[in-house]
């Protein structure tokens, strides 16, 4: 043996070295380690050589405890019921692709058009509903896309009002605004007035206001030249 071996304390040689090399200890089967023998011979050797080292004794104590711990853990494990035998691998059949069959379908272009008819009616209603929900004068950003529909609607209302005016004055004559909007809601009265403004602009009716009474009069079926203009 070389001199370096001689300088090493006895307990770093086998069989005691196992108690000082923890990484090896953990890999051992604890049942293969005879702790009683190792400890007895360790003490005897220490006495014999006179190399009394309490740090070494401490490490030996620690290692022994560790081996006991490993043994007791194994014992506890043995107490546990054995794991159930693994069930035989379940046979998983491959996916069952449904047979492919061509099937002529009964839908014709006539069906498509029948339902299209309904859908377009729905679309129209939606558009009208939207118009009704919108303020009479839409915000500028919305004017452009809606302009045509909006104007169309105004024109329709103008015609309606004009027809009703003609009927009420029996062809030609004057009617007072308050009479026209009697028993109608305020908002409806305002709408009627706006429509009258449009009609007046087209020179189809004349509007004028009595300065004293502030009453508004509408002339229908009389040429605009004969009509007074609205007085402010």
């Amino acid at each position: 043996m070389s001199s370096t071996t001689l300088k090493k304390p006895f307990y770093l040689r086998p069989p005691w070295n196992i108690l000082f090399e923890f990484h090896k200890l953990e890999k051992l089967t604890p049942w293969n380690v005879n702790i009683a023998y190792l400890l007895t011979t360790f003490l005897k050797e220490m006495e014999k050589t006179g190399q009394v080292d309490f740090r070494a004794s401490g490490v030996v104590l620690d290692s022994s405890a560790l081996i006991y711990l490993m043994k007791s853990k194994l014992l506890l494990k043995l107490e546990e019921p054995p794991p159930p035998p693994k069930p035989p691998q379940e046979f998983l059949p491959p996916p069952l692709f449904l047979p492919l069959r061509y099937e002529l379908t009964s839908t014709t272009i006539k069906h498509l058009l029948e339902v299209l008819d309904e859908v377009l009616k729905g679309e129209k209603n939606l558009r009208l509903k939207k118009i009704a929900e919108e303020p009479i004068l839409p915000t500028p950003s919305e004017i452009f896309p809606q302009l045509d529909i909006y104007l169309m609607e105004i024109e329709r209302q103008m015609e309606k009002l004009y027809a009703s005016l003609l009927e009420r004055v029996k062809g030609a004559g004057i009617i007072e605004f308050s009479t026209l909007v009697k028993n109608v809601e305020r908002i409806e009265a305002i709408r009627t007035f706006i429509l009258l403004l449009f009609l007046a602009q087209d020179e189809r009716v004349g509007l004028w206001q009595d300065e004293e009474t502030e009453r508004i009069y509408i002339t229908v079926g009389v040429s605009s030249a004969e009509n007074g203009k609205i007085n402010n």
Partner: protein, 194 residues
């Protein structure tokens, strides 16, 4: 073809009539895309003779079997006939089908249920995972699988519609034997490719 020629060599008119009837049967099976009964087929041929329809259907089946077509005509248990694509071709052309088909997940669940039936829903979910709940719902909606409450658990099995769809026996034991054969054929085909 040979058989037909033998039968009708001396009857050219008869032969032509038969060809027309065979074509009508083919047309009926093609457009229906589902199994048709002898009665339904008879009504297309304007005959009440089930025997006649059966004979013609057999001839058409044989003709299809002879030419190495991708299509087949099968006779199902209860004297119904169906024209369909041979199963071997399904994986290759599936993506051309213009209607929603079941994807392979639900189809795997279906084959498991078919193979193990009657089988508890719990077992199916255990083997196929939690997605199987959705698959089972879908398969029930399609009428391929039916569930029956037994105490606290649900037992699943395939329906008669399922058996018809695949041209399998309505008898569970026989069907399972038939399916086993289908799966074995399938694995044989699949393996060399991979």
């Amino acid at each position: 073809m040979q058989k037909m020629e033998k039968l009708t060599t001396n009857q050219p008119l008869q032969d032509e009539k038969m060809r027309h009837e065979l074509a009508l049967l083919e047309a009926a099976l093609y457009v229906a895309g589902r199994p048709l009964t002898l009665k339904e087929l008879g009504s297309i041929l304007k005959t009440r003779s089930k025997k006649k329809v059966k004979n013609l259907a057999k001839i058409l089946m044989e003709e299809y079997a002879k030419r190495k077509s991708a299509l087949e005509i099968l006779e199902l248990k209860d004297e119904r006939y169906v024209l369909q694509l041979k199963a071997d071709y399904t994986p290759r052309v599936r993506r051309l089908v213009n209607r929603p088909l079941l994807s392979s997940g639900p189809l795997k669940t279906l084959s498991y249920i078919a193979y193990r039936q009657p089988v508890s829903q719990k077992k199916v979910v255990e083997v196929r995972g939690h997605h199987a709940y959705g698959h089972i719902k879908l398969l029930k909606e399609m009428g391929l699988v039916a569930g029956e409450r037994k105490g606290r658990s649900t037992v699943l099995r395939t329906t008669e519609y399922f058996a018809d769809y695949f041209g399998l026996s309505h008898d569970t034991a026989t069907m399972k034997r038939e399916l086993k054969r289908v799966f074995e054929d399938f694995s044989k085909q699949e393996k060399p490719k991979q």
